[in-house]
Symmetry: C2
Subunit: 217 residues, 2 copies
Amino acid sequence: MASSAGQTNSGGTPPPAPPVRRRPGGRTSRTRARVLDAVRAELGERGYDGLTLDAVAARAGVHRATVYRRWRDVGGLLADLLAATADDDWLPRDTGSLLGDLTALNEENQDALTARPSIAAALLAASFRSEEAERGLLRLWADRYARCEVIVARAVARGELPPDTDARRLLVAATAPLYHQLMLLRTPPDPGLPAQAARTAVLAASAGAFAPGEAVS
Amino acid sequence: MASSAGQTNSGGTPPPAPPVRRRPGGRTSRTRARVLDAVRAELGERGYDGLTLDAVAARAGVHRATVYRRWRDVGGLLADLLAATADDDWLPRDTGSLLGDLTALNEENQDALTARPSIAAALLAASFRSEEAERGLLRLWADRYARCEVIVARAVARGELPPDTDARRLLVAATAPLYHQLMLLRTPPDPGLPAQAARTAVLAASAGAFAPGEAVS
């Protein structure tokens, strides 16, 4: 049952803990699931500053030595939590329209960022603290943007968008205002914001804002 | 020369250090300027985790006791730095067009967020760590958004926007993609992004995206 996270090197710098490989149904898998559930709970309740391996081990009912050996430090726990988060079958909702799909995406994001406790908000905050959390978050962002490109592909197939639409720029325009308000300006959640931000991006797209190499006029 | 920051209370919780009142040209003012210059330099070089009152005092050439008495802790230093940042005569550039004004604003933001070291990025990161830094940053955001409303007012006066345009929503739509890319997605700076994001917001505005109470259609 040796996992790649148990490797050590002989240098002075410990290697970053790679995510534990999935072993569906195995003991390693069950231990990991219990530990990551405990990380989510501790992170949500106490935030990054309150997260410790001892508290995670106690909450998970897993030997401290196991947690220290496999995850090594808080950065290792966060990186693995982010890897587990990316390792799901999430797909954006298919509502039948570009506006509907972007609104649904923003609503999911708003729900995740304003849940109490919000694991998503805690992970974003942790990415300013821990380089491993930052790397894990960047991998998760890349994965989520890749999965969301289907929203643009469907709109192209329906004739709502031209085929050469820059999917990434459209997705950023549709979703950034919500993150900006909630995470940077720290405004209270606004039930109208998901649809407003989605509609702004759709109107801009209709006016050609996300065409490639468009000159600023 | 007693300043309000020298007050204490008798409770167990120290009061937040209020900003030192300006005394243009006075010794208090010069001390504050030296200390805040040192905070900027230390924050830029070492980040929040490396910021200490001792290092700031040494760099500023100010007695440790003065720094501890007036600013008390790292949160006090950051709050005062943010207050000093807001206490300037900054105004958005007047380029003669809405697109030009929003592009110039985004260019200023991109320059500030990608400077090495970037005080703006360090303060944003610190706002996830220190409640005093967060409160200071929210005051600074409120001040900056209020000053930027003139961009929308000028566009209304030129007939580029309808009079009932929601200035805040337009400003967020124009500027959020840049913060999103640089601070959350951590993508490298893109010289085309300031104008692209500005143009997207202008196109959306032309299509009525920021009219008040607009129903989602």
